[in-house]
Symmetry: C2
Subunit: 444 residues, 2 copies
């Protein structure tokens, strides 16, 4: 489909391309077509779309395509598109745009919209304030359900969701929440104030996107009211934006756990230089730790000069230690992100990891002892490696659970304490343990 439209455009058969685009009708898929077109093709195709679909499609386009349209379209073309876009989508878009584009969008907006956009743009990125929309339905306590439904009918077009409505008092103070379902089930003459939930779940403008995601996940909501310090309703976050927030938080954790500085730009849209910049810092830091492990090894030069075979077990010990540590760290970091593990569980977690490491060691250590005995016919070397393996696994599992929980305790992101860092710490420990056991068992 995508390819077909592209070929039609390249052949300058715009009417057929338009027909093919219209067949899709879904703005998400329509927006995807525009990614990868040449600038002038983007503008031509956009002008071919019917007004309503064009406006919907615009919201789902990637920032690069939006920027090209914002530069090329006339004021008269742009105004209806911007007016029909929901406030939170416009804010998301403006956060990605250069200053001159932001100025143009603000100039084209109606005074009310402009005021609102200016306010929303002041909230820090990644907070509830910058995620929320101001296009909610606000009802009054004194309305009857019938009046409320009529109000809804008149205002449904302009609101991002109508299924959750907010009841506000003087000064926009949030008094309650009422859903369309509750309205349908209630008597038409009942008062909104009597039907509404009076103590709804809410969040502050400063809540992080991770916290917002957790609330939605835990309480199965469709929308969440956002209030300021005086409990005044300033906006609402809908579940589709919460899903995006959840995925962004997950991506950030994946990146941090792989020793990457988090990035919000998709992989292919990031330049090689930026990629390198986001990776090199951690690599340098971890390389320095590797150097320390190396210095530690050279301390035991006499040992492996006497018995060179000792060197060949280093990679296996280091790898297994690193893998054991990252297994534990991943489980603990994920468990804390899902709120399944709390800080007060520290000792339960440590106790569990101790037992797990003994069980795992009881499998891995004998295997080592056995193959070394069979291959090298040396029981002492087998005992040295098996024993070192046991201790390494124990230390790795303990550090794997301890470091992320300590990070959380110090209000750092636990994800920073993941595999790469633990691997390097465990490496040094395992080398130290290994050679000390070797010196004693083998009497070197």
């Amino acid at each position: 489909m995508n390819r077909k439209v592209l070929e039609l455009i390249r052949a300058r058969n715009f009417q057929a391309a338009r027909a093919a685009l219209l067949e899709e009708r879904n703005p998400v898929d329509a927006a995807a077509f525009f990614d990868g077109l040449e600038p002038e093709e983007i503008v031509m195709m956009f002008r071919l779309l019917p007004k309503k679909l064009a406006a919907q499609t615009f919201s789902y386009m990637v920032p690069e395509v939006q920027e090209k349209l914002l530069a090329a379209l006339t004021d008269a073309e742009l105004r209806p598109v911007l007016e029909s876009q929901f406030m939170d989508d416009t804010v998301d878009m403006l956060e990605e745009m250069p200053a001159n584009v932001v100025r143009r969008v603000l100039k084209l907006s109606a005074p009310d919209t402009r005021r609102m956009l200016n306010r929303l743009l002041q909230y820090e990125e990644g907070t509830a304030g910058s995620m929320m929309t101001t296009e909610y339905v606000a009802l009054k306590k004194g309305m009857t359900i019938r009046q409320a439904m009529q109000y809804l009918k008149r205002n449904a077009v302009d609101s991002e969701t109508i299924y959750t409505c907010y009841v506000t008092g003087p000064d926009r103070v949030l008094e309650g929440v009422i859903t369309v379902r509750e309205m349908l089930l209630a008597d038409d003459n009942a008062l909104v104030g009597d039907v509404m939930e009076k103590r709804p779940l809410l969040a502050a403008t400063g809540a992080t996107d991770e916290e917002i995601g957790q609330l939605f996940q835990k309480y199965d909501m469709l929308a969440l009211p956002i209030v300021d310090g005086e409990n005044r309703l300033v906006g609402m976050i809908t579940v589709d934006d919460a899903v995006d927030a959840i995925q962004e938080a997950n991506t950030e954790d994946f990146e941090k756990m792989a020793a990457l500085e988090p990035s919000e730009t998709p992989y292919l849209k990031t330049s090689a230089f930026t990629h390198a910049r986001k990776r090199v810092g951690w690599l340098l830091f971890l390389m320095l730790s590797g150097i320390i492990t190396g210095r530690l090894i050279s301390h035991y030069e006499e040992a492996f000069a006497a018995l060179p075979i000792l060197v060949s077990f280093i990679p296996m010990l280091m790898d297994t230690g690193g893998n054991c540590g990252s297994q534990s760290a991943t489980l603990v970091i994920r468990g804390m992100a899902l709120e399944e593990i709390r800080l007060r569980d520290l000792f339960r977690v440590m106790w569990k990891e101790c037992r797990v490491s003994l069980l795992v060691g009881a499998v891995l250590a004998p295997v080592n002892l056995l193959w070394i005995w069979l291959c090298y016919h040396s029981l002492p070397v087998g005992i040295t490696v098996g024993l070192s393996m046991m201790v390494t696994i124990f230390l790795a599992k303990l550090m794997g659970c301890l470091l992320p929980m300590l990070a959380k305790r110090c209000r750092l992101d636990p994800a920073l304490m993941a595999s790469p860092l633990i691997t390097t710490v465990v490496d040094a420990c395992s080398i130290f343990v290994y050679f000390n056991i070797a010196l004693r068992v083998l009497r070197l």
Copy 2:
């Protein structure tokens, strides 16, 4: 709060405990109280809850608590709880229960419910069929909007969501979707068939939870119809369940990427033995690869016997290679999970990783050359390590992007090709490269 209720229960002050529980009123939080209580306390507290809250709370309890209640409550107490629970929640619960509990629940259910539950239980866990609920609102094309709204009013209690309604023809074939918003905006006398979306997004019963999560994330839906092979409507998935599916898919990826067999049970609820079992397989496999790397090292025994300092750079080279590989693998795996990277992008990704590895190497290699020169006053050793670093980074980044994409190409889960596996492969390569460069540069 949790603690207060617990203390009141322990002091056998059940009335005060009940009052404290009622203050909360949110079934999610109420359910959390029960986790950690003694079996007899669970049953006592549950009996103290008002009927409606008790039924809602039951759905959100962890399986262990549900099982205790299912064993202790009488038929008369259990029936209303089970009847008010949504079908998909009952199915999720039954999937965790022993056979005798499943039999009792089925016996207590009304014949219609029982038939439906039996059918839903046949779908494989993790597919759309086992996630969906059958409690949707089905309308007919010929209804007017007014009739449809009245139908909604009468049936709102029994449906999991009413905001998205399905229009079905003879034999339950799905003909369209209509939302409450569209109904409110439409004329009361218009026909459902004229207002509805005729080509809605849908999924088959066999779709995986990952696919369902991706659909919701991409198209910002509140509910998705599920159809069988003949396009007959068999159920619906709501966004709250899709959020759970998204998080489960993420957890699975985290686990696979840390060389863990995926598990659905929370960390603390899993026994040490099960934890060990889920970890030891990959550890054994990766240990064997470590052994191969070790055998490779012993091939170069003469080299490091002549120049023992060579051994001390092994950890740094191995660590950096592993970290570089896992950075690339994580970005590619995550990019594919979010559909930002597709298989056809293989060469673009490889080309980007090549450039990134040159940039990263251009920073790391000179740093190595410099410190080795300063510390050991040997330029040839510095050149050896710097050059090996360069090649290792290049190989690691290339394998980091190549292996996950090849896995996807072979219809394997790309997450399996993450850090641990790549680390071990890169280890062997870096040792090989390092000693071969050393032999040539240092003429050993």
